[in-house]
């Protein structure tokens, strides 16, 4: 009867229990396996089945893609001969030689080889422009540039040892830009001065335009030579960067109390969403010429950029509208009662919260847009998919399928997967500072 005072009250606690650790059978890897993999006979069976499947498939894929693959050959038939002599008759191996030979084309299209340092530099500066938006300090830029230079050094040494000219590769303009930018980020990279880097981000579109199209001090390059992954990046990045702000404005316009503004926004969104992207691309490539004054030569890629951006904006507007609608009315009212103007309230109170809610949808739209860039192949632009046809109709590579599409798929997967991972990181970071 210790702890109770039976005569006066039913029960009164007279000590506070000390917290104890959870039983060891409910924590640790063994408990995790028991709970997640073998919780019942059915689950145990499924687990074993899946392990067996993985054990069967993964070695086969590795054998094809890595162990029995060929990197140096002049044609598909040469590849097959090499595989047959090395691994025996009937062996299946990947012929990566096609990627090896057409690597430059798949990345840059027909961009002049001696000017390819310009798209390289533009890509590098894109990283510089993105880091201040995506991260809290400039530290990631230092790591990225250090990593890039390290990789370049390793490749340069390897190529020099193999008898190629590796020094040329190391002493390219991108290395110097990387050194300068990485150094600047190392010295001026703290959270306090990070915002200054955003001025560069603002100027980036112009810088990238002159690097890619030429002009000013650079030799002009016709945009019909653009192609490969370069084209994917130009369209994807412009679409992503343009669609978010335009989408936000459209979403706000759709919520507006001004009837004309609201009607314009609703009409735009519903029209664009109701039409396939291919149709808009055909309009950009052919129909638009009829509306422009005769003789004007409006760059086809710029026309495509505008169409893709507008298309993505309409989707973005609806995603952002979902976020705006999810906010409690009290947030709008609190912003109003404090005397904030409409734009102050939106910028400081409403949008930070609404966009946070919308992150999964926004990134979803970004990824969809990035993959939709392959549709430009239909109007004759040579993005990676558009390049597969000329490559496959080359007599040397006639019949190649898996290697080419697999490589392109890998490029896209890396980009889309990074976006997805970053968005998860961002959500986690924002959640940490905002526990409701």
């Amino acid at each position: 009867m210790s702890g109770t005072h039976a005569e006066t009250v039913a029960y009164v606690a007279d000590t506070q229990y000390d917290p104890e650790p959870a039983p060891s059978s409910s924590t640790g890897p063994i408990a995790w396996m028991r709970e997640s993999l073998f919780s019942s006979w059915t689950n145990a069976g499924l687990t074993i089945l899946c392990i067996a499947l993985i054990a069967w498939i993964v070695p086969a894929i590795l054998e094809w893609a890595v162990f029995q693959s060929v990197w140096n050959a002049k044609s598909l038939s040469e590849c097959r001969e090499i595989i047959a002599t090395r691994f025996g008759e009937g062996a299946h191996g990947a012929c990566w030689a096609v990627i090896n030979e057409r690597f430059g084309q798949l990345l840059y299209g027909f961009y002049p080889a001696d000017l390819r340092w310009r798209p390289d530099t533009a890509a590098l500066l894109l990283v510089v422009a993105l880091v201040p938006i995506l991260f809290r300090t400039m530290r990631p830029l230092v790591y990225a540039m250090a990593g890039l230079i390290a990789v370049k050094v390793v490749f340069a040494i390897a190529w020099t040892l193999m008898g190629d000219d590796g020094m040329d590769f190391l002493l390219s303009p991108t290395t110097f830009v990387a050194l300068v930018v990485g150094g600047l980020a190392f010295v001026f990279g703290s959270e306090a001065v990070k915002s200054k880097w955003l001025y560069f981000t603002l100027a980036y579109p112009l810088i990238a335009y002159f690097l890619l199209w030429g002009g000013l001090i650079f030799e002009p390059v016709r945009s019909s030579l653009f192609g490969g992954f370069l084209l994917t990046m130009i369209i994807g990045v412009t679409g992503i960067a343009g669609s978010l702000p335009i989408g936000i404005l459209l979403a706000l316009g759709r919520q507006s109390r001004l009837p004309v503004l609201k009607m314009v926004c609703v009409t735009f969104i519903e029209f664009i969403r109701g039409v396939p992207l291919i149709t808009l691309l055909f309009v950009a490539s052919t129909l638009l010429n009829y509306f422009l004054p005769p003789g004007t030569n409006f760059d086809l890629i710029l026309r495509v950029l505008i169409m893709v951006t507008l298309f993505a904006s309409a989707y973005m507007a609806e995603v952002v509208r979902g976020g705006l609608a999810a906010l409690p009315r009290g947030q709008y009212e609190a912003a109003d009662t404090l005397g904030l103007t409409y734009w102050q309230g939106m910028r400081l109170i409403i949008l930070p919260q609404a966009l946070k809610i919308s992150i999964p949808g926004i990134v979803n739209t970004f990824i969809g847009l990035f993959k939709d860039t392959t549709l430009v192949a239909v109007i004759g632009l040579l993005d990676p998919l558009g390049l597969t046809n000329p490559i496959r109709s080359d007599a040397n590579w006639n019949g190649i399928v898996w290697e080419l599409y697999g490589f392109i798929a890998l490029l896209f997967f890396i980009c889309c997967w990074s976006m997805s991972r970053y968005s998860m990181l961002l959500e986690k970071r924002l959640r940490a500072s905002d526990r409701r």
Binding site: P328, D336, T337, G339, R436
Partner: protein
Amino acid sequence: MANVAHSEASVPPAVMEVSDEIAIDISGMNKWYGDFHVLKNIDLTVYKGERIVVCGPSGSGKSTLIRCINALEKHQKGKIVVDGIELTSDLKKIDEIRRDVGMVFQHFNLFPHLTILENCTLAPIWVKKMPKKEANEIAMTYLSRVKIPEQANKYPGQLSGGQQQRVAIARALCMSPNVMLFDEPTSALDPEMIKEVLDVMVDLAQTGMTMICVTHEMGFARQVANRVVFMDQGQIVESNAPEPFFTNPQHERTKLFLSQILAH
């Protein structure tokens, strides 16, 4: 009535004097939601330093009434004048009035993505263009007055309901308003936390702040109000000083209401 007498003794009457300057003047004000007539011919004059408690059954229009004062709701007929500025659809005047009138909501409506301190300094910095350092100092003063300066760097989600409501009061005070509106500030709180919020409101009343409170806390009404307004079905039914209002209600509807809320 013993506890009422005690509470009144704790409040020095000299501080709670009412001036004869008008803070808010509402005359012949009407409002409709669609066809539904929510507010009917409201006449209410509030003098500087007055503490007015508005009570009444739910749906009687009391929240709508105070939300009309800072234009969260638009009135369709009649006149509302706040500190000499008439409330029209002119956005500039609405903003001017909102800067002058603080509001505290039932559900706090703190900004969850900002820290407590940022919640308090946001409006002074952006609306009053105050330097950040000065805004921080003012915010800390008010957070000390509502007795939670140590929470300044936390986020609203990490605070209890009572603490959040006190932050909401501090946030409104940081704009140094002339009038404070309270829309059922304790209705969403656990019983244990109601007192900490009411204590802050009593303190505020003692500084001479003009206050209009929609509340069902009759103890608070007795202690600090100098007028109690009873509303039913969109109109003011009875308005009187708290002592006669509670001991000698005139209107049948008031008697019924008081018997119901004071019974338990």
